[in-house]
Amino acid sequence: MNSHLLEWLIMSLFIFCVGIYGLLTRKSGVGLLISLELMINAGALNFISIHRFLYPAQVDAQVFVLFVIAIAAAEVLLALALFMLLIKKQQPVDITQLNHLKH
């Protein structure tokens, strides 16, 4: 196995850019969340690959990625609760329409 660090970094960069594309094209909130998850995932993968290639003895990167996963879970939970509220109020989960906090 002769894998270079560069390949892994470019791979996570690619996933990140795919996430940017999704973030810019999606209109519905859930679609945005999906793209956001991709981007967070790319960041975590980047973290772990640099840790494994350059500092394999350190434990900190894995700890950080665990925190990132926990925060991503929290963020998805809150966002979905907000979308549920919107759906109950019979409003579309369309972020182009959600440009006011209170009306």
Binding site: L5, L38, A70, A81, M84, V93
Partner: protein
């Protein structure tokens, strides 16, 4: 060889996740992408992270997303098609970010750094647990506690936000 197969699968599933018309399909493709990322974590010898990835992302967040999609009957959720101009602009932005990133990375001379062998093992789960709960200088106990409080707060606020309003 298997690394490149996994790379291809991640890229494939990610592209499908952002471009498929129905958000149900998107969620399923995201599940594929996240699971293959767990496989990449295994290659990078982060077994605990791979497990957590499958448990929290694939088992938790994805189920949540699919439930949210099933509970809604909004038309935009099953038919989220961007306009052509929007697609072109988003494609331009993301490819320029990608090109900039590749240019920056290739100027760093990272070709010589290859995957470490078994002679330099990754930290064990025991070390990870010690790092999490240690009160010493390199411990993360404070962040760990804060994140547990954060998760509790988020759980309660999600219930409060989504609960039935009084008539």
């Amino acid at each position: 060889m298997i690394i490149y197969l996994l790379f291809f699968l991640v890229a494939f599933f990610s592209l499908l996740a952002v471009s498929s018309k129905s958000l149900y399909h998107s969620a399923i493709y995201l599940m594929g992408s996240l699971s293959v990322t767990a496989g990449l974590y295994l290659i990078l010898e982060a077994e605990f992270l791979a497990g957590i990835q499958v448990l929290v992302y694939v088992g938790g967040i994805l189920v949540l997303l699919v439930f949210a999609l099933m509970l809604t009957q909004s038309d935009i959720l099953v038919n989220d098609q961007p306009t052509f101009t929007k697609k072109i602009m988003a494609f331009g932005v993301s490819t320029s970010v990608f090109a900039l990133g590749v240019w920056l990375l290739s100027s760093l001379h990272l070709h010589s750094i290859i995957l470490p062998t078994a002679s330099s093992p990754a930290p064990s789960i025991k070390q990870l647990g010690h790092a999490f709960l240690s009160v010493q200088k390199n411990g993360y106990i404070l962040a760990f506690e804060i994140i547990s409080v954060l998760l509790l707060t988020v759980l309660i606020s999600a219930i409060v936000i989504a609960k039935k309003e009084k008539a």
